[in-house]
Symmetry: C2
């Protein structure tokens, strides 16, 4: 290896590999350009939440999710806080519950508390999905329970569908609203063998994202009853999300939704295939062992500096990018793997050989 | 006139006219496509507020505004609430002051109160700009005074620059932070004969918009001291505005900024010219009589149904769109006129004849 190759970062080596097991390709301008290309330039912008362009897509998504109404949002962070705020205001209880590794707990700068003065109860164990018992054993009054399906921070795990139904029943009986963090909702439909609308029927409000498995530019939908969505529009305005034009996100969301929603079954099968290959490698295991969506986490029982070097060599010498980053966990390290369009392009024999090499390096290199 | 022409709305008639005195053209997809066209599709997206694409533009705008730092926001509604929240948190006084027709008072669904629990003091008279005396005679303690320049809802009026300086002095002496609602900041630089940075030097924090005179798709910049902008980024995250990709707005903002910021003097001269022509018409006057930016309000002393018909005929028979809408004021009606790229394309003789016809119709038609 020459000096240049050695000084390359893992992200650069990943970006330089011909094949990648992960994702839908780089997040560059072509993602938007491709989505806009087929659309007539004379098409009018949406206008502060109104106009055919936004209303048509909201209607389409309401139907997909089996809800009376839907509102397009620039972000899920905004959409979910607003759903929880509405449920808190209606019940008069400014308290909600969710998993300890929820997006709201980890990635939103305490917004629910700082902006909405809503208290969060973290239920269950951080290393597993929320159970019916977690919910029934809660002693505090809450207005709303948020469930994230799949639970992203533990590799995209899912409770059995019957347990979901039991949680929904319990909440209905207790007057607790159930909200779905469905950032990756379409990704779990193959495992459950249910449509998005069937899954959503268990929930009072639902958020979905367009830049996870769908691979759009950004944007989210919140869906639920018409009166709730009317209120959500007022809060969207207050948050500063009622932009004069959201069409760059709406049009790309619609384009990639239509392009990829039918591929979720394929991604799911490929995720299981790749996880099985990885679990055969020494010093590697995936969480969950058998994926239940297009994602899983990869744990490598070696120090981060070592793993980074080996993954760089994998990208450079075997021409296959496994991950652009690794996260330090002390003696081991992890990364998230999300199957998208790119996996199908990887030659199988090359992948098998590369992973055999990887397992040997992890086992034998000093 | 045939039946079809009669049933047309004013907006349709305006849209169908070859020439328009108002704006930069329709807000359609071509606005974005034109801005993206020259940029390499391989350019990487910004990533949750980081990356060269967003950082470079923030740096450029910080320099233009003469501030140490700047943050790009999806909307001004978000940016301004956050600036005011930061000033309130720092002073411990949850009270701010602004003009009775401020954007925050009229167009934000009480967000400052509902989201941030900040009280607003409305100072001065709604029909004129804020004066030094309005500020010095305030009895309540406030953390921040917001000034909107120009004051949009009264036709884009401005205080004398010396009065601005006196207000800034007073605020500095009293420990009151001064925030600029500069949605139309570049539009006032020709009248004041000052650069944007010179005007901003009077203020502690500054917001500018990219879809007013600049004519972009959407987006805003908040600028100020580095520590304040660091805090603003945390709040942007909480509001749900820290999108994974803001590049559709950033790139179009940059494109149209560079295309139009140098034209503000021309727009201003044209606004004065058009206002003078309109003020010569019977039953029409503009506010202000002599514009101080590229905008003014047009008041027509006739009932709205009558005016709507006459403006439709103006668009259809004289091929000049004056406005796409009118707002009912009882015996009279009004609309806002904002000069952009389209005005220069209107043939002067045709405009003079059309306005002469308009004045006669307003005076004589029963």
């Amino acid at each position: 290896m020459n000096d240049q190759a050695q000084s390359m970062t893992l992200a650069e080596a990943f970006g330089g590999a011909t094949f990648r097991v992960n994702g839908n390709g780089p997040r560059n301008l072509d993602v938007l350009k491709e989505a806009l290309e087929p659309i007539d330039g004379k098409t009018f912008s949406d206008h502060y939440g109104n106009g055919e362009l936004i209303e048509q897509f909201q209607q389409q998504m309401a139907e997909v999710l089996g809800k009376p109404a839907a509102v397009f949002f620039p972000s899920g962070t905004m959409a979910q806080q607003i759903a929880l705020r509405i449920w808190c205001d209606r019940s008069g209880i400014k308290r909600v519950a969710y998993h300890p590794l929820s997006h709201l707990e980890l990635h939103e700068q305490d917004a629910l508390k700082e902006l909405h003065h809503i208290e969060s109860i973290l239920i269950g164990d951080k290393d597993r999905v929320t159970t019916l018992e977690d919910v029934t054993s809660m002693t505090e009054d809450i207005s709303c329970l948020l469930l994230e399906l799949p639970q992203r921070e533990i590799g995209g795990q899912l409770p059995p569908y019957e347990e979901l139904e039991a949680i929904a029943d319990h909440c209905r009986q207790r007057g607790i609203r159930l909200h779905l963090d469905g950032a990756r909702l379409f990704e779990i439909t193959p495992y459950y063998g249910k449509t998005a609308a069937e899954i959503c029927s268990l929930f009072d409000s639902v958020y979905i994202s367009f830049y996870k498995g769908i691979g759009g530019v950004a944007g989210a939908i919140l869906a639920g009853d018409t009166d709730v969505m009317q209120e959500a529009k007022v809060w969207k305005h207050r948050h500063g999300g009622n932009l004069i034009s959201l069409y760059p996100y709406i049009l790309s969301s619609k384009y990639y939704y239509e392009q990829r929603v039918g591929k979720m079954g394929e991604y799911y099968e490929q995720a299981k295939e790749l996880a099985a290959l990885l679990n055969r490698c020494s010093h590697i295991h995936t969480v969950p062992e058998v994926p239940v969506s297009n994602m899983f986490h990869v744990h490598m029982e070696r120090p981060i500096e070592f793993v980074r070097e080996v993954l760089k060599e994998l990208a450079q010498q075997h021409d296959i990018g496994l991950s652009s980053y690794v996260v330090d966990q002390g003696d081991s390290c992890t990364f998230e793997c999300t199957i998208g369009d790119k996996y199908a392009l990887v030659p199988q024999q090359q992948l098998h050989e590369a992973l055999r090499w990887l397992g040997e390096e992890l086992a034998n290199r000093v």
